[in-house]
């Protein structure tokens, strides 16, 4: 049993070390980690064999390269590619001169202005919408037992004093202050959004 547990533990450890063994074979580990792994290899024949394979097999694979020919072959291939390229339109034809190559951020950033404008619109719609139905409308008036429920009682008790959402909703409905002014970018994005919706 103990031996089985030992084997299980060793297997778990070795699986965790899998990536590190690759680093060890590649020689990319720092001295401390290399020393730690080397002491593990002294005790674990499987990992030691794996490291040997990680050094030998890639070397064999590289030796097994079968290059197709000399410089003439590559020259001919290059010529064929460039002939194909000359038949294509320039890759940056649709972009302003020199704007093609650039480090770009994530794709969602392009949507950021539209998303910001959409958020403003949604907020405006929510704030102008009629208030939600009062809480009491969903309380079934079925009897004393239900009303005795401490949760419902606490809702009733709180309604007059600390039902912040209901109170705030009513305030906002009576608020005639104008909505925050939108920037030109937000207005453009908003117009685009509306255009999309109308289509």
């Amino acid at each position: 049993m103990a031996a089985g547990a030992g084997l299980m533990w060793r297997g778990w450890t070795c699986r965790r070390l899998s990536g590190r063994l690759v680093d060890l074979a590649d020689g990319t580990l720092d001295a401390a980690e290399r020393s730690r792994l080397t002491s593990h290899l002294a005790r674990c024949s499987d990992c030691a064999a794996a490291v040997a394979a990680l050094q030998d097999v890639p070397a064999l694979l590289r030796e097994a390269e079968d290059p197709p020919g000399g410089e003439g072959f590559w020259r001919a291939q290059r010529d064929a590619i460039m002939q194909g390229v000359r038949g294509l339109p320039p890759p940056a034809a649709s972009l302003p001169h020199g704007r093609g190559y650039r480090a770009r951020g994530p794709g969602w950033m392009a949507w950021a202005p539209a998303l910001a404008a959409a958020a403003v619109v949604v907020a405006a719609v929510v704030l102008r919408a009629p208030p939600p139905a009062p809480e009491r409308a969903v309380v079934p008036a079925t009897g004393v037992e239900t009303l005795d429920d401490p949760t419902l009682l606490s809702l009733s008790d709180l309604a007059g004093s600390s039902m912040p959402d209901v109170e705030r909703g009513a305030d906002v409905l009576e608020d005639d202050r104008p909505l925050p002014e939108l920037s030109n970018d937000e207005l453009d994005a908003l117009a685009q959004l509306v255009g999309v919706r109308e289509r």
Binding site: S18, G19, L21, V22, D23, A49, A50, A53, L54, D56, V57, P58, L60, L61, R62, E63, A64, E65, D66, P67, P68, W74, Q77, R78, A80, I81, M82, G84, V85, R86, L88, P90, P91, A92, L95, H97, G98, G100, Y101, R102, A103, R104
Partner: protein, 176 residues
């Protein structure tokens, strides 16, 4: 001149700069395609398709990884497509092929035996392991770049590589 500078020059209209990029990377792309397809003619097609696609979509090169890594991603997709097409085309039974048309094994060439066995064995690896080994050994990409191309973590790429290599070693010892 760095690859990124050449890319910028091509995008600015200097098409001839693309030839330098082809010259620099055609061997890498060919090696990758050949490992994937085990066929020089098919690998050649993949190289051409890869560079033409790279040229057409050069504006999509974001510079987040190296140009070589970006190119290898295109090449790997092309090679996968080519391999799938070839597999679909191989629906003809070998029994229907004339004997003379079947590939001949040259038993008098022992120096090519290991090379042939290795190529065949790499072709039998599970797709993810084959991709990682091909990109690592054939194209010399970093595990970081491989992880990015394959959409996995860097550690997963290393683990796949480890499994592939140990499997190849086992096969080399145990099979002809």
């Amino acid at each position: 001149v760095e690859d990124a500078t050449l890319v910028a020059a091509v995008l600015a209209g200097r098409r001839e700069c693309f030839e330098t990029l082809v010259e620099r990377h055609q061997r890498t792309v060919h090696a990758l395609a050949y490992r994937w397809l085990d066929d020089h003619a098919a690998a050649d097609e993949v190289v051409q398709a890869t560079f033409l696609q790279a040229y057409t979509h050069l504006v999509d090169f974001r510079g987040e990884a190296s140009f070589r890594s970006w190119l290898c991603g295109i090449a790997l997709n092309q090679a996968r497509t080519q391999r799938r097409a070839r597999q679909r085309a191989r629906t003809v039974s070998l029994d229907e092929v004339p004997e003379a048309a079947l590939p001949q094994v040259d038993a008098s060439a022992p120096e090519t035996e290991l090379r042939d066995r290795l190529r065949r064995l790499v072709g039998e690896l599970p797709p993810r392991q084959r991709a990682v080994v091909t990109l690592r050994v054939g194209s010399d990409l970093s595990f970081r770049d491989i992880a990015r191309l394959e959409g996995i973590s860097e550690n997963s790429a290393k683990v796949s590589y480890h499994h592939a290599v140990t499997r190849l070693r086992t096969w080399l010892r145990g099979r002809g």
